[in-house]
């Protein structure tokens, strides 16, 4: 999920580096060996054939994993009930809208005062086209989708340390970087530097491709020209009538682009997770959790805080507090348990599982993430800067500004994602701030890119995931070592308990991982039940 401007060297970033330096083939080979590249294994609605003979399952957590398990097991004939800590379904699938209140750990309550129809998705906010399972549930449950704009060529790449701190259009950085590379490669080819590697016939085609692809002129130069303007746009756009001729702009030099490091931002549009088409539900990501919950009438017990999980040969007993009744302890008994609690929560509970599974539960720290929603009285990014959707990337602590992928050109108000910090020191530092301090800082940063922030800001809200009472963190943070030592132990059926959630997947921090994990868990559980 991370696409921060200056990321730490994670596996995903390593892959991006390999891709940037060695090309797509090398990246594909590396990705395959690291288990990322294969398409989603989802092949349509799960078929749990065979009679479960009235078996019951208690499911912990009404996020997408828990609700997927409950829905499919219920369809297969199981008696299911879900225990959920919050007073709403969805878990991290969540949208904050006007009228909502959110109390974080530490006790600060924020009241969301966004106008009708405006929202912040504090958790997941975009859906790749290759997340087939999630898309299928959206289709089956009637969740209307619209395009999420990941790449907007007219949004900004910004470095506080380059170009005098002035944001640069993605379009120009992308075109000029690729144009300059094409010019260099064409020159090298024509000077014979590639004679050992590329045949003369292929060189002729390569040069033709570089000229077309890079916007080079007839002399193979990337300069202000009609050819480059087709990619980078114009200093003055073509118009109508007198004085309407376009003016070609001067490309930004290779040296300036290289040393600015803005080329790093282009990686956010190249990687598999972020390629078009991406989607979002109309009205907020939370519509998905709401749609799942509608499929589970009376199955979800809200305000239930799990305090312990015991098991014996015949079933599972889950103790929980009824938060609405002052912590009265109750017990839920079932033949089986699908536990979709975040590991940050589960690891702290007394839970009767094998030592290897317990070690796995304790071994996965959660990433830290902070998001901001900022409402402005005017869609200045559209009216003044012609940015319709998409994301600007910056080296400032807020890292991202994402423009709404809906309601374009309407002249009304809008809510920006005014910052999205994923891991690193700043995520913790923002989490340590009060909500008011966070917003003040997000406005300071954002105003360096959009000075209109100062006059147009109305109201804002932030969610720091390590202060979220129901997760105590953002998402499972695996390493090569923890995968090797613990992943299989985490996913095994342990007696009568099986875990599910994004943390039990190779797509951590994505909703698809939660759903695929749940489908795999219940398929194995069902096999065991019908075999008994």
């Amino acid at each position: 999920m991370s696409d921060a401007a200056s990321p730490p060297l994670t596996r995903r970033n390593l892959l991006t580096l390999i891709g940037a330096s060695a090309g797509g083939t090398a990246m594909y080979q590396a990705m395959t060996s690291l288990g990322f590249a294969a398409e989603s294994p989802y092949r349509g609605p799960i078929k749990l054939e065979g009679d479960p003979k009235g078996a019951s399952v208690v499911i912990l957590g009404a996020g997408l994993a828990g609700m997927t398990a409950a829905f499919e097991l219920g369809r297969a004939g199981y008696k299911v009930r879900i225990l959920e800590y919050n007073n709403r379904a969805g878990g991290r699938n969540w949208s904050l809208r006007g009228g909502d209140a959110y109390t974080e750990l530490g006790g600060a309550t924020q009241h969301c005062t966004f106008d009708d129809g405006l929202y912040l998705n504090p958790g997941p906010w975009r859906i790749p086209y290759h997340h087939y399972a999630l898309l299928d549930y959206c289709r089956r449950f009637g969740v209307t989708l619209e395009p999420f704009i990941q790449l907007n060529h007219n949004a900004f790449l910004h470095s506080s340390k380059a170009f005098g701190g002035r944001p640069q259009r993605i379009r120009e950085i992308k075109a000029d970087f690729e144009g300059a590379i094409a010019e260099l490669l064409a020159k090298a080819t024509r000077q014979g530097a590639l004679d050992d590697a590329v045949s003369k016939d292929d060189q002729a085609i390569l040069i033709e491709a570089l000229r077309a692809h890079g916007g080079l002129d007839k002399d193979f130069r990337y300069v202000a020209s009609d050819e480059s303007a087709e990619f980078r746009g114009y200093a003055k756009d073509p118009g109508g009538g007198l004085g309407a001729a376009p003016v070609n702009g001067e490309p930004i030099g290779m040296h300036d682009i290289l040393t600015s490091r803005l080329w790093q931002g282009l990686q956010n549009f190249l990687s598999y997770d972020f390629q078009t088409t991406m989607f979002q539900p109309v009205g907020g990501m939370g519509r998905i959790g709401e749609a799942f919950a509608r499929q589970l009438p009376n199955a979800i017990r809200y305000g239930a805080k799990v305090t312990g999980i015991r098991q014996d040969e015949r079933g599972v007993t889950v103790a929980f507090e009824d938060l609405a009744r002052d912590g009265t302890i109750e017990e839920a008994r079932a033949d089986w348990c699908v536990c979709a609690l975040p590991l940050t929560i589960l690891s702290q509970l007394p839970v009767e599982v094998s030592a290897p599974m317990k070690a796995a539960i304790d071994a996965v720290p959660y990433s830290s993430s902070v998001k901001f929603g900022l409402q402005f009285r005017r869609r200045f990014w559209e009216e003044d800067e012609h940015i319709f959707g998409g994301i600007s990337y910056t080296d400032l602590p807020i890292r991202h500004i994402s423009y709404p992928s809906a309601g374009y050109n309407s002249g009304g108000k809008g809510v920006l994602l005014g910052g999205y910090i994923w891991n690193g020191p700043n995520a913790y530092e923002f989490t340590a701030m009060s909500p008011a301090e966070r917003i003040a800082r997000a406005l300071d940063d954002g105003a360096q890119i959009h000075p209109q922030y100062r006059s147009e800001f109305e109201t804002g809200i932030s969610v720091a995931w390590h202060r979220a009472p129901f997760t105590l963190g953002c998402a499972g943070e695996w390493t090569e070592e923890t995968r090797r030592d613990h992943y299989d132990n985490l996913c095994q059926i342990d007696g009568r308990i099986v875990l599910a959630g994004e943390h039990a997947s190779y797509i951590p921090a994505w909703q698809e991982g939660a759903i695929l994990s749940a489908l795999d868990a219940i398929a194995r559980l069902h096999k065991r039940v019908v075999a008994a």
Binding site: P8, G106, L341, I345, D362, S367, P425, E429, L472
Partner: protein
Amino acid sequence: MGAVRTPIDRRRLVLLCAAVLACTGVLAQEPPTSAPFISRGRGFDEQGGAALYANVCAACHQPDGRGAVGAAAYPALAGNKNLASADYLTSLLFNGLRGMPPLGRMMSDAQVADVINYVRTHFGTSYDDPISAADVKAARP
């Protein structure tokens, strides 16, 4: 949050002086100790236990060290018996455990020592066996 005065304040003063001396010449100005602070790189830039606590640990354990309770908890530091072992805290900071991320990996040896010594001498506790940056260095995975 006022600093808790304990009999070992003098020792802390010595530590602080040592830290300041170590930083003189590379650090033009000492960052504020508890005001919100934003680091510039991939590691924490805060100097000294108080600043590190306020801007990192307090995110979860809260400014006054009382912890927080939701679906599960961030443990309170006040009266927490796990503070008895600086080595245990070093291991926590480097390896993480349950809800605790391995934050020490984004800190220098001196920062890890500073923040451990800070939490062990505040919130009503006053252990008098500080850990040194050298001890931390030896424990770093």
